[in-house]
């Protein structure tokens, strides 16, 4: 039945798959932009035992880690239009909920789940920074904000970086589930092309290749950044 791969299709679909990369990256970057600061702040509430928020963060993280992301996607995709349409009806806003670009749901879901992941990453990274650093900063007169910005965060960042890299790679992989929301990302585009001629193997090989290239670039980028940050550790006195 199969006489080997259809190489023309293989090459063509590769570029079709590539065309999904911008959306994938857009969702990833937006999610990170929201999740990084939010995750960091909520991590602080855990460390400093802020009353309601730290308990909330705990449950939030447990939920995200305990449920598959596809189910989170399903829930958001099924519930948000419902909530929005109720909201719009109440205030007589004339927007058809079902015309909203799926990318907004993607932003919501992936920000939601990445924030939870990053809460844990920052929590463990911050706990590796010696408490004495903060105390010393305060005793030379830095405000809390300055102490964190100039002393604690730079040190915690180095520890957190590999985990943030992993979280980013996982995020990029998770966007492949965007097809469930009809998001025009890598997987969906190539699948649609494959459905035409039943060239599934070639299509998935291309999708596979695109993800590997993307992930390798991301990992490489993070490694470079980590090297730059590490320089302070090895500066000779």
């Amino acid at each position: 039945m199969s006489e080997g791969l259809n190489y023309t299709f293989l090459i063509d679909t590769f570029f079709i798959a590539l065309s999904g990369v911008p959306i994938t990256l857009l969702v990833t970057i937006v999610a990170l932009l929201i999740a990084l600061p939010l995750g960091f702040l909520l991590a602080l509430t855990r460390i400093n035992q802020v009353p309601v928020l730290n308990w909330f963060s705990r449950i939030y993280v447990s939920f995200v880690r305990g449920t598959p992301i596809i189910i989170q996607i399903f829930i958001v995709y099924a519930s948000v239009p419902l909530i929005l349409s109720l909201f719009f009806e109440k205030y007589n806003i004339n927007i058809n909920v079902y015309n909203i670009n799926p990318i907004w749901y993607a932003f919501i879901v992936f920000s939601f789940s990445t924030t939870a992941i990053l809460i844990e990453v920052f929590r463990s990274a911050l706990s590796t920074v010696n408490k004495g650093q903060l105390e010393a900063a305060q005793s030379v007169g830095l405000s809390n904000f300055q102490a964190y910005r100039r002393i604690v965060i730079p040190q915690a960042l180095i520890v957190a970086l590999p985990n943030i890299c992993t979280a980013t790679v996982n995020l990029i992989k998770a966007t492949s589930l965007g097809y469930a929301m009809s998001l025009q990302e890598i997987t969906l585009k190539a699948k649609v092309a494959a459905n035409v001629g039943y060239n599934y193997v070639e299509a998935y090989i291309d999708i596979f290749l695109v993800y590997i290239i993307l992930c390798s670039l991301v990992e490489y980028g993070f490694k470079l950044y980590e090297k730059r940050l590490r320089r302070y550790k090895y500066v000779s006195a």
Binding site: M1, S2, G4, R46, I47, S62, F63, R65, G66, T67, P68, I69, I70, I71, Q72, F74, I75, A78, S79, P81, L82, Y98, R123, S124, S127, V169, K173, A174, S176, L177, T187, Y200, V201, Y204, I205, I207, F208, Y211, I212, L214, C215, S216
Partner: protein, 238 residues
């Protein structure tokens, strides 16, 4: 999905559980097999990563990187279409194999990549002095690994193994995309049969099932860690 009036029925969540839960058997069976085979393969890969042979190390690391960069559904489809296609070249007809087989193959490959890192880092965290002391009291290298290094590495690996287990279970929820009727597959069948109404309730039911299982696994491994940890100082983190 939006042609019929949708009203949210909370009791639906509860009522769908008896229909869904029996299909956990499939979910667990597939996960269980993947874990067993995956751990075995992961062990081999870990040994390769720790070996003195450069090609072995390179291959094992290459394998791990590739699998860690591949989304689960892509891997699932690659295996689902690719394995029979490859088998055709050898004259084997595999297109009608039970979907579960492809699912197990996929997640075995994926879990092996995770496990190889868990095992490798656990072994590397045991200080060399333990091995040196063991051989200098007369143990053979094999005995040293078995009696001194391995038990200590096990304790280090346990929490990471637990996390890997939970991750595997989550990724396994995607098996429905190639047609496996596990708990997620059944849920989608129910939704389709109901003309897509009450989908939200069913998804919430699924979420609850998975969440409870994950919490149970976490607690179980927490207890396991305490049992195996005798002789070690544990750091109390929140």
């Amino acid at each position: 999905m939006h042609s019929m009036e949708k009203y949210f029925d909370v009791s639906y969540i509860w009522n769908s559980l008896p229909i869904l839960l029996p299909f956990l058997k499939v979910t667990f069976m597939v996960a269980g097999l993947s874990i067993i085979f995956g751990t075995f393969l992961g062990l081999i890969l870990a040994v390769m990563k720790l070996s003195k042979s450069k090609p072995a190390r390179k291959f094992a690391n290459f394998y791990t990187t590739i699998l860690r960069c591949t989304p689960s559904i892509v891997l699932l489809f690659l295996v689902y279409y690719g394995v029979p296609a490859l088998a055709d070249n050898f004259g084997l007809y595999l297109h009608d194999l039970n979907t579960a087989v492809f699912v197990v193959i996929t997640f075995t490959l994926q879990f092996a990549a995770i496990m190889s890192e868990v095992i490798r880092s656990a072994f590397e965290s045991i200080e060399k002095g333990q091995f040196e002391a063991a051989v200098s009291v007369g143990l053979s290298p094999f005995q040293a690994y078995r009696r001194i290094i391995f038990p200590q590495a096990l304790v280090v690996a346990l929490p990471n193994f637990g996390n890997g287990l939970i991750a595997l279970l989550q990724e396994g929820s995607l098996a429905y995309t190639i047609g496996l009727i596990d708990i997620v597959g059944k849920a989608n069948l129910i939704i389709a049969a109901n003309y897509n109404t009450h989908a939200l309730e069913i998804f919430i039911a699924l979420a609850i099932v998975y969440w409870v299982i994950s919490i149970l696994i976490e607690k179980f491994f927490g207890k396991l860690e305490k049992v195996f940890s005798k002789g070690k100082q544990t750091i109390n983190t929140n």
